[in-house]
């Protein structure tokens, strides 16, 4: 008894620049597998954010555009509107989407733009060296909240899935995580569902994926998985927050 496993075709052979144990790599694989399984690589356009995943286009073998910080949803809107036949997805981190790009993601979702967003929430700015993000937890120490996030001073972390689910336009909004195989398999189903809704020209879809950042959290990869399970997932609860009728 046993199973085979191989790297998806849409994932390049390049070694990623991500830190050891960073689960960006898992999410890239799930997106690549989805692209392979839906057979859409020839008409897919990805949009990379500004952040650790800016180099996502080195790892995913399809047409790509590189957005300015936070503006990927606007670029995706531009592409999807002029070429609705293209399969368009944005891949964004929490600094990119929930901070500078909050306006763009809310309005793209509210217009019901028919693209897919993969939103990687690791509660910190990774690329720039571990600053506080809108999703940083209360008391979580970062390079710009060295004494821990002070909610009296900077408010509570933003729950993006719940925020977007409150919009009235139909959409598929779900939160997943990739810190263990059981979660990874569910995240894969959700990502495939999101791309399928786009394939069916049905609605806007966003998959928030709670992810780890061992380096900037100051933890080993395994400790980061545990902290995510105990602390992050308690606040960012996985589940489907909006399903199109």
């Amino acid at each position: 008894m046993g199973k085979t496993f191989k790297k998806p075709e849409a994932l390049s052979d390049a070694h990623t620049h991500y830190c050891p144990g960073c689960t960006h790599g898992v999410i890239h694989r799930l997106v690549a597998e989805t692209i392979d399984e839906l057979g859409i690589r020839g008409r897919t356009v990805g949009i990379a954010p500004v952040g650790c995943a800016v180099l996502a286009y080195n790892y995913l073998n399809c047409d790509f555009q590189e957005a300015a910080h936070g503006r990927a949803p606007a670029m995706a809107t531009g592409i999807k509107r002029v070429r609705p036949d293209l399969m368009v997805f944005t891949y964004q981190g929490d600094g990119d989407l929930a901070s500078i790009g909050m306006g763009e993601i809310i309005h793209a979702a509210n217009r019901g733009e028919k693209f897919t967003t993969i939103f990687v929430n690791n509660a910190i700015y990774g690329m720039t060296g571990g600053q506080m993000a809108p999703t940083t937890m209360p008391g979580q120490r970062t390079s710009t909240s060295p004494l821990g996030r002070n909610v009296e001073e900077v408010g509570m972390p933003i729950k993006v899935a719940e925020l977007l689910a409150a919009l009235q336009t139909p959409a598929y909004i779900t939160r997943q995580t990739v810190i263990k195989p059981k979660y990874i398999n569910k995240a894969k189903k959700a990502i495939k569902q999101a791309f399928t809704y786009q394939l069916e020209n049905r609605c806007f879809s966003l998959v928030e994926v709670v992810s780890t950042c061992p380096t900037n959290w100051g933890m080993t990869p395994v400790e980061a998985v545990d902290w995510t399970e105990k602390t992050l997932l308690a606040y960012y609860q996985p589940g489907d927050y909006k399903i199109p009728a």
């Binding site: 046993g2 085979t4 830190c19 050891p20 898992v26 195989p181 990869p221 395994v222």
Partner: protein, 74 residues
């Protein structure tokens, strides 16, 4: 049907997540550093491997593959 568990040791960054999820405690960190300066994972107890792909699914660097080989491996 026989399966082959392959770890691309130069792609592995020794993060240890696969070790944590392996149900049969097959994997360990190797003492030999790889081309990138990481200590990659290796199969310390290959005979215990049940080819369940947990490690493959968990690996952020997609460094582990499992292939099917025709003849039963001795």
């Amino acid at each position: 049907m026989a399966y082959q568990h392959i770890i691309d040791k130069d792609r592995c960054k020794g993060c240890g997540l696969c070790i944590a999820v392996c149900p049969k405690n097959v994997l360990e960190i190797s003492p030999d550093v790889n081309a990138k300066g990481y200590y990659p994972v290796f199969q310390a107890r290959p005979e215990d491997c049940i080819h369940c792909t947990m490690c493959c699914i968990m690996c952020p660097d997609v460094a582990i593959t499992i292939t099917e080989t025709e003849e039963a491996s001795a």
